[in-house]
Structure formats: structure tokens, C-alpha cells
Amino acid sequence: MTPDELADLYRARHSKALLPLADRLERHIQGIFGGKRHIDRISARAKSPERFIEKAFKLESGSPKYSDPINQIQDQLGARIVAFYLSDRDALATLVKDYFAPIEEKQIVPDTPDRFGYEGKHFVLFLPGDILSKDIPEQHIPTFFELQIQTLFQHAWGEANHDLAYKPFLDLSADQQRKVAFTAAQAWGADLIFEELANELLLHRCRLTTRWSRPGQPGVWL
């Protein structure tokens, strides 16, 4: 398949299948997890044709990374759940496996412990049949989608980093790289501290609620 043919194929897939499916996927995930506490947002998106083409022709050690991009790139549909704290993220990861069928589960962390950068929990999951319908051409329906679960700080850092620093054509100076790593370290630290605070304060709140609650009366929440 020539690059032009691939681009045309993906554009057709994007408009006929991925855009409506992303919308349905978002609603489907919201239906399952929307009522859980400490979820900031749930979103889903269709990978844009530009980003897909950019990824499809990516090189790895001088050779094309993908031999069959339309079947190998698994984040044509991507979803994200942003949770408040680290423990919420981990609890959600367990729930994801209850409702979706995974073929991959990864905890993304920097390569070595002395580095700071992108962190998150990633899944590759079967696209749920609940969001499919006859009006979407079968040949354009991807088998899988990618789900990321992040904390608020991981999400915030990832978005800013993607906007400013994550550009394959851009060489960051040493100082800029240190600044990017510094913000990642701060996000990592903030997650850690908030997790500790959540453990202390939410547990305290829970105890108070249990002690002051009476049958038929709402608990007292501080």
C-alpha cells in the first residue's frame, strides 16, 4: 500500500468509523465509571489523520517501525480516565479488567529510577461490542482501543509536555530538558504527597462519618 493509499484509507476510516465510535466509547466508559468517586474526567478521541500518518511512517533504527500500520497501530481510538490520586488510578485499573477485555496492560514509567518523565497506566482493550452498529462499515472498525488512566498531575504534565516538548523534530537544549524533567518530578512528588494526604484525611473523614451517622440520618462530612 502506498503512503497516499494508506492516508486515503485512514481518512475514510476516521470520518466513517472512528469519529462516531470515539463519541460512543466516551459515553460507554462514562456509563460504567462515571459514578465512581474521584474521577476528574473521562474522554475518548479518534486519532487524527495527520497524527496517524506521522506515526505510520515512523522509523526505528533506520527501518519503518510498522509493516502494516492500519492493523498494527492500536491507538486509532484512544480513551483516558483522569483520577484524583494514585490509589484511585490503581483501583480503576482493576475495574477496567472487570468490564473490558485486555490484551495488554502496562505501567509506563521512566526508564531508570533517577529520571522523571511520563507516567501512566495503559491498556490495549477489545473495542466493546456495545458501541457497534450496522451503520458503521465493518472494515473500518478497529479491533482494539487504547485506554490510559492517569492522575490529575500525570495528566497535566503529559498535556503540557505533549504541547511543548514532545516533538520529534525538536531538539531540546540541556537546560530545557532539565526543566521538563523538573516539572515531571514535581508532578510525581505532588501525586505522592496527595496520596499520603488522601490516606490520612479520607480515612479520618470516614471514621467521623461512621461514628456520627445514625439510621435515617445522613453522615456528617467535614
Binding site: D68, N71, Q72, K97, G129, S133, P142
Partner: protein, 339 residues
């Protein structure tokens, strides 16, 4: 599409035994009576294999699965050697209870599409009578296959891309609904390292929401049946079922069934098998029930219980209430036998 590769292996039970032996296997002719029989199995698999399954990821969370790797290796190079790896895996999962089996690997490729059917037939017993000129020789035989399809198992995989396809397929397991989960797990979980494509909670949630929504949209007589179905679902907890089998087991009227199926987001999913999860069911289709010390029982979907039954406190000391409701009687029956 007709099979272009037909291999067969005699698979002995070897689970927990120390020295397993390889089955030599045989390549079968692509014509003749046996081919005709197997071609029917191959052809029918499109309809017969109706339980969606998927290979599970590795315990480390990676995109690899031992059984899928063997399937892909066989599709890539369908030889007696690659087929034997699948036969040996089945052998290592087979207990004495499952017994001797004959494994068939049937593969076809056309226009870039590949179809693989893996089927296992258990050994049956029979009597062979051979008449010579002056004597009749009667012999007991333990290795008769394909006589009875009661315990027949098969798996069907189709696709064109080894990257995105062949992660999911369809199976038939005639023993799946029998009481022993161990037997059912033998084919799907142990041999294919797979699970139902629809998870327990996802399938249960889909069913429960369809039932709950149908209680709001169904015509009045069907509504009562659906409420009763919600109450009865508890008894099916932990069992593998599909939405279709659930509705059939409860003998719901056509009207009630249609109202429930209409609430399923994708009607193609009504045949998907999953294990009913009671907790998930109750979360999505809760029923509220109040039983009085007089023996009276009131039952309604929990989100509409207070609209249906008006509650009035008569005496707080003795905790006495009066419930009132109003409506047209759509069904009235006596359950159980009179003494």
C-alpha cells in the same frame, strides 16, 4: 472455502503425568468420504461455533498468549510439526476424565483470508462384527470417533492480519452448560488459554440495564414478567449464560423478550456468553422488596418503589406502616401446590 490442510492427531490424556508422548499425527486426503465428513464440520463451524472467546494477555500484561502463538505458527506454516505443538498442548491439558480424543486441524485460505477450525472428538466405544465364511468375529472397540456429537468441541478463528486478527474467535463446547465447570474450562481456559470475550461484569451489566429499561418501556403485562425475571436472576448467579438463554430459561413471553432485546445497544450481542455476576446485576437492576409481618410482600424496581407504593407511618413505637397502591390487575396467580 474448503480446507486446504487437514491434519489429525490422536490425543491421549496426559495432564499431571510425567512422561508425555508425542502423537505422530497424520495428514488427511483432501477428497473422499472422510474429507466429506470433515468438510461438513468445517463448513458448519460458522454457525455452530457461536460463543465469542478471546485469548488472554500474558500474566505480565504483554500482548502474547501461548495458545495464540501456536495458532499463529500453524497458520504461518501448516505442517505436522506445527500442528503437533497444538496437539501436545491439548494433551497436556487433558485429564483421564476427558479421556482419549481425536484432534482435527482444518485450515483454508482464500483472497487473503484465513480460516482455521480446531475440533476435538472424544473416543467412543462400539462393537465390531466381522463375518468370515464360517465364523463371526465380534470385537469390542474403544476408539470410535465422530459417532456422537454430544461432547464435540471446536474453535473457529478467521482473519487476515496476524497483528489485529486471531485474538478472538468462536467456540462450541457441548459440555459448557453441564454442572462441572472443570470440564468446560478444559477447552476454553486450559487448552485455548482464553476467556469469554464478554467479561462477567460487562455481560451482566448489559443484561441488567436492558431488563431495567424494559420495565419502563414494556407494555403493562410484559412489565410484570420482566420484574419477575429480575427477581429470579439471583438463582442464575455464577452460571454461564447469554441474554437469549436467560430469556428462554425463564420462558418469557415474546412481548417481554422483544421489549428487553430492544434495550440492548447492539442486538448482535444477545448471544454472547458470560457468567452472571449477582453483585453487578443488583447494582444495575435493583429491586426493592418490603415484606410485612402479615405475610404481604411488595416488589417493584427500586427506583420506582416509592412511586408505586405509598408508605404511611401509623405508629412509630410499634413500627407499623400502611402501604397503599392503585392499578389495574394484569396478572394474578397462585404459586406452588395446594396442600
Amino acid at each position: 472455502m474448503q480446507p486446504t490442510t487437514l491434519l489429525s492427531y490422536l490425543v491421549h490424556p496426559h495432564k499431571s503425568l510425567l512422561i508425555p508422548s508425542d502423537s505422530p499425527g497424520a495428514s488427511l486426503p483432501l477428497s473422499g468420504t472422510l474429507f466429506g465428513m470433515l468438510n461438513v464440520v468445517f463448513d458448519k463451524s460458522d454457525n455452530e461455533c457461536d460463543i465469542p472467546v478471546r485469548f488472554v494477555m500474558s500474566p505480565e500484561g504483554e500482548q502474547s498468549n501461548v495458545a495464540r502463538d501456536l495458532v499463529l505458527a500453524f497458520i504461518d506454516g501448516p505442517t505436522l510439526k506445527t500442528g503437533r505443538s497444538l496437539a501436545n498442548r491439548l494433551r497436556d491439558c487433558t485429564t483421564l476424565k476427558s479421556g482419549l480424543g481425536l484432534l482435527f486441524l482444518m485450515l483454508a485460505s482464500q483472497d487473503g483470508k484465513t480460516k482455521l477450525v480446531i475440533s476435538r472428538f472424544p473416543a467412543e466405544e462400539g462393537i465390531l462384527a466381522e463375518e468370515a465364511k464360517t465364523i463371526l468375529k465380534v470385537e469390542f472397540i474403544e476408539r470410535i470417533f465422530m459417532k456422537n456429537a454430544a461432547s464435540y468441541k471446536a474453535a473457529l478463528y478467521q482473519g487476515s492480519s496476524p497483528d489485529s486478527d486471531f485474538w478472538a474467535g468462536f467456540v462450541i463446547d457441548r459440555q459448557l452448560n453441564r454442572s462441572s465447570d472443570q470440564i468446560a474450562n478444559y477447552w476454553i481456559s486450559d487448552f485455548l488459554a482464553s476467556d469469554f470475550k464478554t467479561t462477567s461484569k460487562a455481560g451482566t451489566r448489559r443484561l441488567a440495564i436492558a431488563l431495567r429499561e424494559a420495565t419502563q418501556t414494556a407494555p403493562l403485562p410484559a412489565k410484570q414478567e420482566i420484574v419477575a425475571a429480575i427477581a429470579l436472576a439471583k438463582g442464575m448467579s455464577g452460571k454461564s449464560l447469554s441474554m437469549v438463554s436467560f430469556l428462554q430459561q425463564l420462558s418469557l413471553s415474546d412481548e417481554a423478550q422483544a421489549a428487553i432485546i430492544a434495550r440492548v445497544p447492539n442486538p448482535d450481542l444477545i448471544g454472547d456468553t458470560f457468567i452472571l455476576d449477582q453483585e453487578e446485576f443488583l447494582q444495575n437492576a435493583p429491586l426493592a422488596m418490603v415484606e410485612l409481618d402479615t405475610g404481604g410482600i411488595m416488589l417493584a424496581p427500586s427506583d420506582r418503589f416509592s412511586d408505586t407504593f405509598e408508605r404511611e407511618l401509623l405508629d412509630s413505637k410499634s413500627d407499623r406502616y400502611r402501604f397503599t397502591t392503585e392499578g389495574r390487575v394484569v396478572d394474578e396467580r397462585l404459586r406452588g401446590r395446594r396442600p
